[in-house]
């Protein structure tokens, strides 16, 4: 049997004396889409950032295709070339044109030729629907466009896994859809994805598995039907009902 794409064993992380991740165990299979939901401060973003070592866990194991990230001999930048990440705040490089944002890492890290990197970038920009924006600077993009460029930038490295850290939380509501559409396409193409999000409808639609996190622990996990239709854990139920209540209140006000 193939190694799982990601395997996390007994992961612990604390900031000072504050434990933020406690005994996390999980697996992500090839081509699986896993969505992590939970209240703010539950540790879901911190957990995602451990998966490419932007955060250093205190103990436990993280294996990417069987390769341990905790191995002191491993070159962490090599692992990161296989694990793309999309950030809440996009983090595009403002001093470079859109096309250069996308080509810089393939050229410098993968050592691709400029021509190869550019043709890949043009292909990816077409895929995210932004072909005409290749030669503008990021500050002239809307939030939704910037996030789609950020997705193209991560994809240019041809990663095996994509991590999404609340990719729509900083967007105006009317721009959320265009970003989620790009992510849905990726999921359909078979990309392995781990997504932290508050978009419950999206989670229900695209995910193979949902993890509910609270207070640094995975409280419950299951298929989207199991988590959203018949959650077993009290805390999952109250999280989802608070959300539903809030959403229906918002609809009522409108």
């Amino acid at each position: 049997m193939m190694d799982p794409m990601i395997e996390v064993i007994d992961l612990h992380k604390s900031f000072g004396s504050q434990a933020v991740l406690k005994q996390i165990n999980m697996k992500v299979l090839h081509q699986e889409v896993v969505v992590i939901i939970g209240p703010s401060g539950s540790g879901k973003s911190t957990f995602l950032r451990c998966l490419n070592l932007l955060e250093q866990p205190q103990s436990g194991q993280i294996l990417i295709e069987g390769q341990s990230l905790m191995d002191p001999n491993i070159q962490i930048s090599t692992i990161r070339t296989e694990v793309g990440m999309v950030f809440q705040q996009f983090n595009l490089f403002p001093h470079m044109k859109v096309i250069d944002n996308i080509t810089i890492a393939p050229i410098q890290v993968r050592k691709w030729s400029v021509e190869k990197a550019r043709s890949k970038a043009i292909e990816l920009l077409a895929k995210v629907g932004l072909s005409e924006k290749a030669n503008v600077y990021p500050d002239s993009l809307s939030g939704g466009q910037a996030q789609r460029v950020a997705i193209a930038r991560a994809l240019a490295m041809e990663p095996k896994i994509m991590l999404f850290d609340e990719p729509t939380s900083a967007l105006d509501p009317e721009m959320v859809g265009e970003v989620l559409a790009v992510m849905k396409d990726l999921a359909k193409e078979g990309m392995t994805m781990v997504i932290v999000t508050h978009e419950m409808d999206f989670a229900r639609e695209v995910s193979d598995r949902v993890l509910f996190m609270e207070q640094g622990m995975i409280v419950e996990e299951g298929t989207p039907e199991e988590i959203f239709e018949r959650p077993t854990h009290e805390r999952t139920k109250s999280f989802l009902s608070r959300r539903d209540g809030y959403l229906s209140l918002r609809k009522y006000k409108e």
């Binding site: 930048s77 950030f87 001093h95």
Partner: protein, 216 residues
């Protein structure tokens, strides 16, 4: 009060020669000081004590003691120790570079640390090494922010280069002092020297603001 233009005209060739030397010393010191400063600034940001501590000590020493004293130590101490005799122009360039490096190191450090963590995280997440992230992502952006501070530092350096007249480096102040001594005059030599320094620093500040606009 009479103002003797004739002695100024008399000294113009020497003062202009001095101005060329002032410009040469300043340019070389700015370049060397910035290179040392970059290295020292990165050293001070290092996570390793063994690098961080000496770089902090360096900055504290050169910012905390008078440039005048540093010039004398380099001229009468450091240079003879290395090459066996002293050389006022070499001493001037080295003293000014060492001093300027302490200030530029802090400009580099502040500029780099003012960058948002998201930029370096994005670079890392694409597989870049620390060096690549600095070279392609952080420094090009940080240097834009550093230009006003560098402008200040370079202007101070041009003006402070007047102190090397004390070790007989024949720059602007050296010849102005000579003019003052020869004719026992105060206003002509020092006002004329002031004018030359002003032209130099004003041009430099204009040049930097053009650069700032171009890069922004």
């Amino acid at each position: 009060m009479d103002f003797r233009m004739d002695i100024i005209i008399d000294y113009i060739p020497l003062i202009l020669k001095g101005a060329m030397l002032t410009i040469g010393i300043s340019i070389l010191s700015i370049i060397l000081g910035s290179i040392f400063g970059l290295v020292i600034g990165f050293g001070k940001m290092s996570s390793r004590m063994i690098l961080r501590w000496p770089m902090s000590a360096y900055i504290n020493f050169f910012r905390g003691t008078p440039l005048y004293v540093q010039i004398l130590m380099v001229h009468f101490g450091l240079i003879p120790m290395v090459i066996g005799r002293t050389d006022p122009i070499a001493a001037a360039i080295i003293a000014l570079s060492l001093n300027s490096a302490a200030y530029t190191a802090e400009i580099f450090r502040a500029g780099i640390q003012s960058m948002s963590a998201g930029q370096i995280e994005a670079a890392y997440s694409l597989g870049m090494s620390h060096r690549q992230a600095m070279q392609f992502i952080i420094l090009p952006q940080a240097i834009k922010r550093m230009i006003p501070a560098f402008g200040n530092e370079f202007i101070v350096l041009v003006k402070d280069s007047s102190l090397v007249a004390i070790i007989a480096a024949p720059e602007i102040m050296y010849w102005s002092n000579g003019m003052s001594g020869q004719y026992s005059r105060i206003w002509e030599p020092y006002l004329f020297a002031s004018l030359i320094y002003f032209i130099l620093t004003y041009s430099l500040s204009k040049l930097l603001s053009v650069l700032e606009r171009k890069l922004a």
